[in-house]
């Protein structure tokens, strides 16, 4: 190798000789091919294709050649550099692929490691259960009505045909705001919401009222002084018990699956006449009353969900007593209505096999997170 050509003597310059160029090219390609990783390739690139490489230096000599020789030399060097660059690119690609493959192997993780860095939240099943029921009613074109929990005695009792001497009005059943003769109670059902709706709206009225209610019950596995109810009320011209049945059948089949229906048994509630208890076909044994074994075959034992009855008691219902309509300012000659109510907590208990009602009120996150944010 020599330094730059400093004289203009038109002699053949050594580096531009064909064999020199070819030797430099071959050396470069060999070095490139010999590189086993990207570092070595980078070194080879610097040495054989960099500004100080033999071919780069030779290239600079071209200008010193007589014009007639330049073309030939330029072509020769250009071809050599092209070959080197091609080799570089080829090797680069090979080595990059190797490198990537190696990196991907090296970066392998144990994907079974836990990922629970952030806490998991959930909504309460009573909330989401209420929403589920509400959504079924909204889909039927009903609206969801709400009201306060501390309620006027008149709305909780009198307006609903529970007269002053009705047994439910005793201190044994109802929480009274102090003093007890000031006419305010913790609502014992969500029916005062129905009364409020009737008092402030004109028919047609189709409302469902989910909410928290209170009774002076013991607190045990199946009773709570604080619990939740949903009630429904439909007031329109021509409403009959058949509409009540249709609505409840639709509700239970929406909640528990197609084919689950209700039946009525005569009963008594002051706010409805006729009144009925409503049962639904047990959604586990589907009415047979028989336990279902692990293999799906019915065995002789009784169904645990309905205790062998084939039916599950759901709640009460009936045709709105015209006295209630009158007290709430609705023309009882023109309109009829139906109403029903059942416990949300109890419904959740049998729908989800919850053994102890108190699990709903303890706030234990292990219980609640199982339900996620929809039910």
């Amino acid at each position: 190798m020599s330094g730059p050509n400093t004289d203009f003597d038109p002699v053949e310059v050594t580096p531009l000789k064909s064999e020199e160029v070819e030797a430099a090219r071959d050396a470069a390609v060999a070095a490139i091919e010999a590189a086993t990783d990207l570092e070595q390739l980078k070194a080879a690139r610097l040495e054989h294709a960099g500004d100080r490489s033999a071919l780069a230096l030779a290239n600079r000599e071209i200008g010193a050649l007589p014009p007639q020789a330049r073309k030939e030399a330029g072509k020769r060097i250009g071809q050599a550099r092209g070959a080197v660059n091609q080799a570089l690119a080829r090797r680069q690609q090979v080595l990059e692929a190797e490198h990537e493959e190696r990196m991907l192997v090296e970066e392998t993780v144990d994907v079974t490691l836990p990922t629970d860095r952030l806490p998991v939240g959930a909504r309460h099943p009573v909330t989401t259960g209420s929403e589920l029921i509400a959504d079924i009613f909204v889909a039927m074109g009903w609206e969801i009505a709400e009201g306060p929990v501390l309620e006027a005695e008149w709305l909780n009792f009198d307006a609903l045909n529970l007269g002053p001497d009705h047994p439910a009005r005793t201190m044994q059943d109802t929480f009274w705001a102090d003093p007890a003769d000031h006419g305010v109670v913790l609502r014992t059902h969500t029916s005062p919401v129905q009364a409020r709706s009737m008092l402030t709206r004109t028919p047609p009225i189709y409302i469902a009222c989910p909410g928290r209610v209170f009774r002076t019950d013991e607190y045990d596995a199946t009773h709570s002084p604080v619990f939740h109810q949903v009630e429904g009320l439909a007031i329109d011209e021509g409403i009959t018990m058949a509409h009540l049945k249709g609505t409840l059948d639709h509700l239970v089949s929406s909640l528990f699956g197609a084919g689950i229906s209700t039946r009525f048994r005569p009963s008594y509630f002051p706010f409805t006449e006729p009144s009925a208890e409503m049962d639904m076909v047990c959604f586990v044994c589907r009415g047979t009353g028989l336990a279902t074994g692990d293999d799906g075959a019915a065995d002789a034992a009784s169904c645990r969900t309905c205790r062998g009855e084939g039916w599950i008691e759901l709640g009460g219902c009936g045709v709105v007593n015209p006295r209630v309509l009158t007290a709430c300012g609705i023309d009882a000659e023109r309109y009829t209505g139906f109403a029903f109510g059942f416990g949300i907590d109890r419904m959740l208990m049998f729908r989800h096999g919850i053994e102890d009602l108190r699990a709903l009120f303890e706030g234990d996150v292990r219980f609640t997170t199982a339900f996620g944010s929809e039910i």
Binding site: D116, H124, L150, G363, D364, S373
Partner: protein, 831 residues
């Protein structure tokens, strides 16, 4: 109400093949709800037979007991006809007596299998039975000695002892008070099987005269009808026959004495409560009147009671002898020496009886019936039936005197259209069916074209309205016949805005790793003390309950925090390293003013009246609370965990606000139960609309300690209603610029007292509309900055919607922002 099936069958001729299950199913379909079926002989299998004791050898034992070695004639029941050798420990019998004998192979209740076994030196081949061994109660000591005419040795005793008896227990609804009697239940059974019914109350009674026991009724409204009959020469010690004892027991009552048993039996049979007085203890005429102030009575349960002037009393010249319809007095009670019995059979006002029972906390069989409404036609009939039984069983004779004061109130007359049942139930019920079914339940029906005039039967005081008739018709047609039809006219507007927003809040909180809880909303002074609330704190002004579950927690809560703090501690106690809980619920604040009025129900209250009602109930906003305690981010292979602190509380609240499109205004505040230096007061809205919605931050160390929670636990409580009112209604669509972003960082040194919010507000104001966003990314303190000073570093993002910003524009905006901060907060730019 417990009804023996045999008694029902005595009153209605049910086909022999009707099972009890079928009977209860049909009665349930008619409205008599089945509570339980008791089977007396359940668990007993034969041979259980009559035995005649032939010999009886007492044999004293080393343990001090004496056993009897007996031979018992059991006929051919043992297969040999030879006497059976049995060891018996009881002594209340003698040779010749008829006893109940269970032979080897028999099984007694409790899976007690009888076999021949060696005991006390004999092979005892069976057992002579007591009542308790047969599961028949423990009324008598020793074994059962049957009446001499009970049967022959070897006869099966199942029927004799009622061991094949089934007793149905019904839950009787208030509108079926008549079914608190066999008369009523048998009537329903006849209806269920469409059988003829002979009413046991159809009975010829002697006419009233004026020489019975004198009775004066001062309060005819309280006691419309009073009947008194007298039996003389009664033997009060005569035994109550076994059949009557058994029926009383089956119905859940105890046998007391013949006189009392007869009155109870007639009550069970007909439904009319009766009272029998020892006539010799009565002082003059019976007078029915309200109590005088201060009057007292000792009732049959030996309780001395102060009477209220509202109590209706039965009295004699000496004073009260009974609380009308509820319970008799001790002074005139029958005793073993009673020979002269005065039977009271009266109709009382149901409400008066109910109130007296409630006032004196007496729940009696008589009261239960009288307060629900008894057939007013019964007093004469029931008194006559009682006299019949007393004389037949107790050996006396009926006095000819029959006292009847007042008269039975007339049953209601109801007018209704014949198509009403069809119109209300949706079942195709013809007018003919309606009339037939109303007559079947005992109504008298006159048909005048489309209109029915219906007189309710005397035993149905609940039937007063046309819709009551609908239920009577519908239950006979059968509720199973009601078709299933969906209403089609509903046209709702979906969930309300608040309802939708509340769902969003819940979902956002769950997404932020918080778990919803529901707590009981009851608190007491100790709760507020634990929260460290000062004495005058408005949260201590609560709505109190007159009859709380616990006197420790007598008030409806004004804050959701106590319930959540307890639940958080419960979770920690059960091993949770960290817990994040939220609750949305009602809190209550008392309102000033008088009681909530009670209006009539004959018409709708006026709007003003309604408003007065609504104004009188407590104010009840919905609150949202969050509690964060312990580990907020878990430790793991990725590195350290992180405990919750004040910032987590604000972060959660800000996430809710962001979801709702609400800008929160956060300022330092001092308020329990929060740490005084780490509590934020949070406000929303501007100008007149601005309202403080609540607080968030770290809890006071004392509060953490009081609730057994880790230090630095944090909490939020806000008025959710107020928050939701400020939620953005319709989100204006943002313009998103695609032009290049200019990022400018500025570090400003300010006094410690200057808040980040102040500096940020100044920068925002100064930067102008080119500012797309701003975020504080560092807080720095050092000696060079000096005591009481801090450096706040903000990242400003500048962008224009319509062009690439020039360097001049960027520099100008940045400088303007810094200038504003300098001017408004005394900041010095750090270089």
């Amino acid at each position: 109400m417990k009804a023996p099936v045999s008694w029902i069958r005595e009153l209605v001729d049910l086909p022999a093949d009707v099972t009890t299950d079928d009977l209860t199913a049909r009665l349930t379909a008619l409205g008599l709800k089945l509570e339980a079926v008791e089977r007396a002989g359940a668990g007993i299998t034969g041979p259980l037979v009559v035995g005649r004791v032939l010999t009886m050898e007492p044999e004293p034992q080393k343990n001090g007991k004496t056993i009897n070695w007996c031979t018992v004639d059991v006929g051919d029941a043992n297969g040999t006809g030879e006497p059976q050798g049995i060891v018996c420990g009881a002594h209340n019998f003698a040779p010749g007596d008829l006893v109940v004998t269970v032979l080897p192979g028999g099984v007694l209740p409790g899976d007690f299998r009888i076999s021949a076994r060696k005991t006390y030196g004999h092979v005892s081949a069976g057992m002579i039975c007591s009542s308790s061994e047969l599961g028949l109660g423990e009324e008598h000591d020793g074994i059962i000695v049957l009446p001499a005419d009970a049967g022959e040795p070897g006869d099966d005793v199942f029927d004799l002892l009622g061991l094949r008896e089934e007793v149905i227990e019904f839950e009787i609804n208030p509108d079926r008070a008549y079914a608190l009697s066999l008369r009523g239940i048998a009537r329903e059974a006849a209806l269920a099987y469409d059988l003829p019914y002979v009413d046991p109350a159809e009975r010829d009674v002697p006419p009233a005269d004026d020489h019975g026991h004198p009775v004066v009724v001062d309060d005819a409204a309280g006691c419309p009808l009073f009947v008194a009959r007298t039996v003389n020469g009664f033997d009060a010690t005569a035994p109550t026959p076994d059949w009557m004892v058994r029926r009383l027991q089956q119905a859940g009552m105890r046998s007391i004495s013949l006189g009392v048993d007869v009155t109870n039996y007639v009550m069970l049979e007909l439904g009319q409560p009766l009272h029998a007085y020892d006539g010799d203890t009565l002082d003059g005429a019976i007078r029915v009147r309200r109590a005088e102030p201060g009057e007292r009575i000792t009732t049959l349960d030996d309780t001395d009671r102060e009477l209220s002037p509202e109590d209706l009393l039965i009295t004699d010249a000496t004073g009260p002898i009974g609380i009308a319809g509820v319970m008799g007095g001790a002074r005139t009670e029958m005793s073993a020496s009673t020979t002269h019995v005065v039977v009271e059979s009266a109709h009382f006002d149901a409400t008066s009886v109910f109130r007296s029972g409630k006032r004196h906390r007496i729940s009696s069989e008589a009261g239960k019936r009288n307060e629900r409404g008894v057939d007013p036609r019964l007093p004469e009939v029931a008194a006559d039936r009682a006299v019949e039984l007393l004389t037949a069983l107790g050996g006396g004779r009926a006095d000819t005197g029959v006292t009847v004061v007042g008269q039975a109130p007339a049953p209601a007359v109801v007018h209704a259209r014949a198509d009403l049942p069809a119109r209300v139930t949706g079942m195709p019920i013809s007018a003919e069916t309606t009339v037939a079914h109303l007559r079947a339940v005992g109504c008298t029906v006159e048909v005048d074209g489309e209109v029915l005039t219906v007189t309710a039967p005397t035993w149905r005081p609940d039937v007063t309205d046309p819709f009551d008739l609908v239920e009577e018709v519908a239950r006979i047609v059968g509720y199973d016949e009601v078709p299933s039809v969906l209403p089609t006219e509903a046209a709702g507007r979906g969930l309300t805005r608040e309802q939708r927003l509340r769902r969003r809040v819940g979902r956002v909180l769950a997404g932020a790793g918080c778990v919803e809880a529901i707590s009981f909303p009851f608190v007491g002074e100790a709760t507020f003390d634990a929260l460290g609330l000062p004495a005058e704190d408005p949260l201590r002004r609560t709505v109190r309950l007159a009859n709380p579950i616990s006197s420790e927690e007598p008030a409806y809560t004004t804050t959701l925090l106590p319930g959540l703090l307890r639940a958080a501690a419960r979770n920690r106690g059960r091993g949770a390293a960290g817990v994040a809980l939220f609750e949305t619920g009602t809190v209550a604040f008392p309102v000033d003013g008088g009681p909530a009025p009670i209006y009539g129900v004959e018409q709708r209250p006026s709007d003003a009246e309604l408003q007065a009602l609504l104004d009188a109930i407590p104010r009840q906003p919905q609150h949202l609370s969050v509690v964060l305690a312990g580990e907020r981010e878990r430790a793991g292979w990725w590195g350290e965990g992180r405990d919750a602190g004040w910032a987590d509380a604000l972060a959660v609240l800000r996430r809710v606000a962001t979801e709702l499109g609400i800008g929160l205004e956060v300022a330092a505040a001092t308020r329990m139960p929060w740490h005084p230096g780490r509590c934020a007061e949070v406000a929303v809205g501007d100008g007149d609309d601005r309202v403080v919605v609540g607080h968030a931050g770290e809890l006071h160390p004392r509060v953490c300690k009081a609730f057994d929670l880790p230090a630095r636990s944090a909490a939020v409580e806000v008025d959710l209603d107020a928050l939701l009112r400020h939620a953005v209604d319709v989100v204006p669509g943002p313009v998103v610029s695609g032009f290049p972003l200019a990022k400018e960082d500025v570090a400003l040194v300010v006094a410690e007292s200057v808040t980040a919010a102040d500096v940020e507000a100044a920068l925002v104001a100064g930067a102008g509309e080119l500012l797309e966003s701003i975020r504080l990314f560092d807080v720095y303190r050092s000696e060079q900055l000096g005591e009481g000073r801090k450096s706040l570093a903000f990242a400003l993002r500048l962008r224009a919607p319509d062009r690439t910003l020039t360097d001049d524009e960027i520099v100008a905006a940045r400088q303007s922002a810094v200038d504003a901060a300098v001017e408004l907060t005394g900041a010095v730019q750090r270089v």
